[in-house]
């Protein structure tokens, strides 16, 4: 109802009330035929209309003014503004309307404050605090935020939890289920003051709060479970590390013994060969030397072969350990500087493939690689070992090249084996991948996988060279097609600085 509509209707009603008796009296007067009746009636009507207008105006002012003030106040309450209490109003309908509005504003303000406190409390809960702490905090927060006398949370099936009956005049028992999705976790129980009106909106807020408690509880339990699983995984990882360390120790210790004795025997064989050679030269019989050296005076190679093979076994054990560390993401490369060419040479010598022709072209220009030397050794060993295995006894060619602009040195190991098919190229660096060319060979199938991971961990790359036009086209697989792998590493110029 608009203010002007009410104003017009009240004015019309008052005017009608004033004019009706005057009009009726005028009609009677006119019917009596008295002289001057017309003038009298008209005058009376004008006076009545004026009086009606004046009284209507007064009435309108008294009713519409306060109504408009209440309407404006309601607008401010709805907009969430804080409003001053109304002055004392008379004990009539308008007064009662204003009083009701006052109560509504107070209720709204209280609920707004409760919602704000509830939201503050809910956002402060952290799953990491754990379920026990959360339960205690949530009960306190419910009491403080919702203005309850007391509050507690009982976990379990809500149907099995006894809900208190309300006794008039006593604090009102209130409750809400802890509901998260379809799961009932328990019940939030408490007492509201007996003087507090417990409206549906209060119950709604309590239920919302209880649902938030249920969600927070579930988060805390999930987090606890995840943390428990993480701790278990860490423990398992440590156990695995210990296990591998133990295995490694148990394998490396006898290998160390074999290696040490073989080295000693090799040294003795060398000494004996020298004695034998001297004896041959002197034309005398060399009894001791003949046992460990050939008639030609050449040292017995067998101890050296034992040493090489024990070294080979040891490297395979280390390769397995590296795979385990790749899984754990703890490779920890320690970058030092070293020349790549001599490193390749030493790796080749350690491989003990003396019967295979080897060619090393070092074009690094003295640049030094920056990488973990032990890890690079592992990669080189795997590449050279592969080249020997698949080269079919043909020469293994290694070239160390410099890319000064990129700040890299790269070592390319090429064999003259049967080559690698396109299908195998894709899989070559995968774990345990051997490809068609490796089915009948020994080894772990981890060399290239570990090699690439180590190269990358050191800021470098290990790649299979694309088949070049000519001998290494994938269409021309077969003896001599060959394969070449390139290990690129960061490098620095050999200048004094």
């Amino acid at each position: 109802m608009s203010g002007s509509g009410l104003r017009v209707r009240i004015t019309i009603a008052v005017m009608v009330a004033a004019l009706l008796p005057v009009g009726a009296f005028g009609l009677l007067l006119l019917a009596s035929g008295s002289a001057g009746a017309v003038t009298l009636v008209l005058t009376a009507l004008v006076v009545a209309a004026l009086v009606g207008l004046a009284v209507g105006g007064l009435l309108v002012g008294g009713i519409v003014g306060p109504l408009r003030a209440l309407e404006a106040r309601l607008d401010r309450i709805t907009a969430g503004e804080r409003v001053e209490p109304l002055p004392q109003l008379p004990d009539d309908e308008l007064g009662r309307l204003a009083e009701r509005q006052e109560e509504l504003a107070a209720d709204l303000g209280r609920r707004n404050r409760q919602v704000a406190r509830a939201v503050d409390a809910i956002t402060a809960w952290a799953p990491a605090d754990g379920a026990a702490v959360l339960l205690e905090r949530a009960a306190t927060d419910a009491r403080e935020a919702l203005g309850l006398i007391d509050a507690r949370i009982v976990l379990g099936d809500p149907d099995a939890i006894e809900i208190e009956e309300r006794v008039p005049g006593e604090p009102r028992p209130v409750s809400a289920d802890l509901l998260s999705g379809r799961d009932m976790a328990g019940v939030l129980l408490g007492h509201a003051p007996a003087t507090m009106r417990w409206e549906p909106a209060d119950q709604d807020l309590l239920e919302l709060f209880a649902a938030s408690v249920a969600v927070a509880l579930r988060d805390a339990e999930l987090l606890a479970r995840v943390e428990q699983q993480n701790a278990r995984l860490v423990a398992l990882d440590a156990e695995k590390d210990d296990f591998l360390r133990g295995i490694s120790h148990n394998l490396q210790t006898p290998l160390a013994r074999i290696r040490a004795y073989a080295d000693q025997l090799a040294a003795e064989a060398e000494a004996a060969a020298a004695v034998a050679a001297a004896a041959v030269e002197a034309g005398a019989d060399s009894g001791a030397g003949a046992r460990t050296a050939g008639a030609s005076g050449e040292p017995d190679r067998r101890p050296a072969i034992i040493a090489e093979q024990s070294e080979r076994l040891s490297r395979m054990v280390r390769q397995l350990l590296t795979v385990s560390r790749l899984d754990s993401g703890v490779l920890r490369p320690v970058a030092e500087v070293f020349a790549l060419g001599p490193r390749v040479r030493r790796a080749w010598e350690a491989l003990g493939a003396g019967e295979v022709p080897f060619e090393l072209v070092d074009e690094a220009g003295g640049w030094l690689a920056l990488a973990d030397p032990d890890q690079v050794d592992q990669v080189l060993w795997a590449l050279l070992d592969n080249a020997v295995k698949y080269g079919g006894g043909a020469a293994v060619r290694v070239r160390v090249a410099l890319d000064a602009a990129a700040g890299q040195v790269a070592v390319t190991v090429a064999d003259e084996g049967p080559g690698i098919s396109d299908a195998d190229r894709e899989q070559l660096f995968a774990r345990y991948a051997r490809g068609g060319r490796t089915e009948e060979r020994d080894g772990t199938g981890l060399g290239l996988y570990v090699g690439r991971a180590l190269a990358r961990a050191n800021g470098g790359e290990l790649a299979l060279e694309p088949p070049s036009p000519g001998s290494r086209t994938s269409a021309r697989l077969g003896a001599g097609a060959g394969a070449a792998f390139t290990l690129a590493l960061l490098a620095e110029a050999p200048t004094e600085g």
């Binding site: 590390d241 210790t253 160390a256 074999i258 004795y261 030094l368 110029a493």
Partner: protein, 240 residues
Amino acid sequence: MMIGGGPAGQERPARLLLVDDDSNLLVLLAEQLRDDGYDVATARDGVEALRRLEGGWPDLAIIDMMMPRLDGLSLAREIKARADLPIIVLSAIDAADSKAELLDEVAEDYVTKPYHYPELRARINRVLRRLGDRLPGQRVVLGPALVLELHRRSATVNGVAVVLTPIESRLLYALAANLGQTVATETLLLRGWADTEDADPSYVWVSMRRLRTKVEVDPNHPRHLVTVRGVGYRLEVEPT
């Protein structure tokens, strides 16, 4: 290897204590080392090693990592708690192992099993050579922006911890032991790469350049790690 400082400056063989539960390896390695002129005592576990130490301190201890009763790491800690005796750990654990970090605290060097004897000997000699280098303390304060903590293989640059590699640590150790004096490139080469046959001065040059990027606030204008062209390098304390 001979160590100076004996009676009337006479040199004496370096004394080594070898600790390993593998008696075969222990006897063999002890023989090899004795043949090379070292004075070697042996122990089969940590407890026996500690008993031997009561009878006199060697110049260097070589300790196996995994042993019964008292493991290598605990033994090394026990030894370091008593005196600053240099230790080489002989172990099946390689540098990438998580326990290798623990070794950094207590061991000057470690050699992985199976070892190559000439390499082990080179490392022993390198550590013994460093006995002549003595630092004034565990922390070397070179200025407000640089503190070296070489026993931990780390430096603090402008309040930020920087990890040093074993070789970088050795180079800085040699320089810090001769603070303010030029150390020849050849000497540094020997300190850093005694077990690397093909190392040449460029190893020192490049390593020093990299070290500057780690420990100098402005590597292009070094305040501590100074090059003496054609001669070597010098570590300087920043004047206050």
